[in-house]
């Protein structure tokens, strides 16, 4: 468990450093591609029911924009 936590933390730090240190300042007028409707980082509205059934059929849940608590989940 401790070994896993240490490895996970290392990956998180590497990921965060690599990702955010490579950032360039993007001006509003340069965001035509970023603002494309298919570029949204959130899950699609049409995914809400499949996220619910995945939550029921698998042990893991959360961190994907879906429900993470409340409701039965017993079907």
């Amino acid at each position: 468990m401790l070994h896993n936590n240490s490895r996970l933390r290392t990956w998180l730090v590497i990921l965060a450093c690599a990702g955010f240190s490579a950032c360039t300042t993007v001006k509003a007028y340069q965001k035509s591609k970023i603002n494309d409707s298919e570029m949204e980082l959130s899950a699609r509205r049409s995914q809400q029911f499949e996220q619910n059934f995945q939550l029921y059929r698998e042990g893991g849940s959360g961190a994907n924009g879906g429900k993470s608590g409340g409701g039965c989940g017993c079907n």
């Binding site: 933390r9 998180l12 893991g60 608590g69 039965c72």
Partner: protein, 396 residues
């Protein structure tokens, strides 16, 4: 675990403090009346089949259908100070039929538990500064079905950096649920086969921290952590467990559960026709479940208003230490389940999403702004398969 959470919080706190927000200049805003922003309808049909029902101890049919529908209405107005107030009302209605739930009392040909309807309204209010993008809000929700009632409250906060390339979101939610304890018919006390049923509470608390960043003109990413804690009745008491000595008991699981999922998302604009969306999540909890989930979706844009997005999702999990299959539990165990949803497994999910959003409206109707049709096929290593079709319509 504590160190991981602290590292993430420290990282976000550092980034936020370097982008302190200036007071809003709202002088050019004027008060407006309530305006209808959009109406969303989402309708889904789900069907599954398998042979590891937890209701019958890990064997037997898992056939289930669910027809789910939600309507979401969003209205907004600006106040005199220039802040935008957004109100969202959502109403969901699910109707499901479950062959395994019907086995809670197998003596009936088709018992009340073979089908049920769940109704779940919710209300959200958000106050946002259109100039800075900063916002906060609260929400309340209800959910009701025959044996389960849920009440939820939530709080959200959004902060944007000055250049609007970085966004931090915080969300806190609490659910206060009540579950009717229904045992398998043969395990009910004599004389109480038809009830009354005892009610037990289940409380859930979750927090969500997410940080999204525009990395360059084509790439943006998000990291999200969503710790949660549940307390109360977490076992599904009408699920049977069979032991090595031939005895039978109702499922029993600890009354506390801590979960920590951490995820990352990327969206990359490859060119005018291809976009790549990727998601990865690591999940751990104190019941011993560890899971990796990866998903990739490649929207193919035929025109700026028509796209087809094939997707693939892979999930692998190490099951809970409390799981054993039919007839394998030791009678000395305190906690036990034969629910294959909590077992070691891997799954594949494939499908496609069609999106249509013409500038003159879908079918030429100006207010019908978009249509999405999504289909997915799910295959689990335990033999369970399912199909889901979802239709999402947006009117503006």
């Amino acid at each position: 675990m504590k160190k991981i959470s602290l590292s993430i919080l420290a990282l976000w706190a550092g980034m936020l403090t370097t982008h302190a927000q200036s007071p809003a200049d709202s002088s050019h805003y004027v008060a407006r009346t309530l305006h209808l922003d959009e109406i969303n309808f989402v309708s889904g049909y789900y069907h599954q089949d398998g042979n590891n029902s937890a209701v019958t101890g890990g064997i037997g049919t898992e056939k289930l259908t669910d027809f789910a529908n939600t309507i979401n209405i969003q209205v907004s107005k600006f106040n005199a100070a220039g802040f935008k107030h957004t109100f969202q009302f959502e109403l969901g209605i699910d109707h499901y039929t479950s062959a395994s739930s019907d086995k809670i009392d197998p003596h009936t040909i088709s018992s009340a538990s073979s089908a049920d309807t769940r109704v779940y309204p919710s209300l959200h209010w958000t106050r946002s500064n259109e100039k800075t993008g900063n916002a906060f809000g609260v929400s309340a929700s209800l959910s009701s079905e025959f044996d389960y009632q849920s009440r939820g409250i939530g709080f959200l906060l959004t902060r944007l950096s000055k250049d609007k390339n970085r966004q931090f979101d915080f969300k806190a939610q609490a659910f206060f649920d009540t579950w009717k304890v229904i045992l398998p018919i043969e395990l009910r006390p004599p004389g109480q086969e038809g009830g009354p049923y005892e009610n037990k509470p289940r409380d859930s608390y979750s927090a969500s921290f997410s940080l999204s960043q525009v990395i360059n003109t084509r790439l943006q990413a998000m990291i999200i952590a969503e710790p949660s804690y549940q307390h109360g009745l977490l076992a599904t008491r009408y699920q049977r467990n069979y032991f090595t000595d031939g005895s039978e008991r109702a499922e029993n699981l600890p009354d506390n559960r801590y979960k920590l999922p951490i995820g990352v998302r990327f969206s990359y604009f490859l060119d005018d026709h291809f976009i790549v969306r990727a998601f990865y999540r690591y999940y751990m909890d104190n019941w011993g479940i560890r899971a990796h989930t990866a998903e990739i979706e490649v929207p193919v844009k035929f025109t700026p208003f028509l796209s087809l997005s094939p997707f693939y999702r892979y999930n692998t999990q190490q099951g809970t230490r409390y799981f054993k299959s039919y007839g394998q539990h030791n009678p000395a165990e305190t906690y036990y389940t034969s629910d294959y949803d909590l077992s070691s497994l891997h799954s594949n999910f494939v499908g496609a999403n069609l999106r249509l959003s013409p500038p003159k409206g879908v079918l030429g109707y100006q207010h019908f702004s978009s249509l999405e049709l999504r289909y997915g096929h799910y295959m689990r290593s335990t033999g369970l398969t399912s199909n889901i079709v979802t239709l999402a319509l947006k009117f503006k």
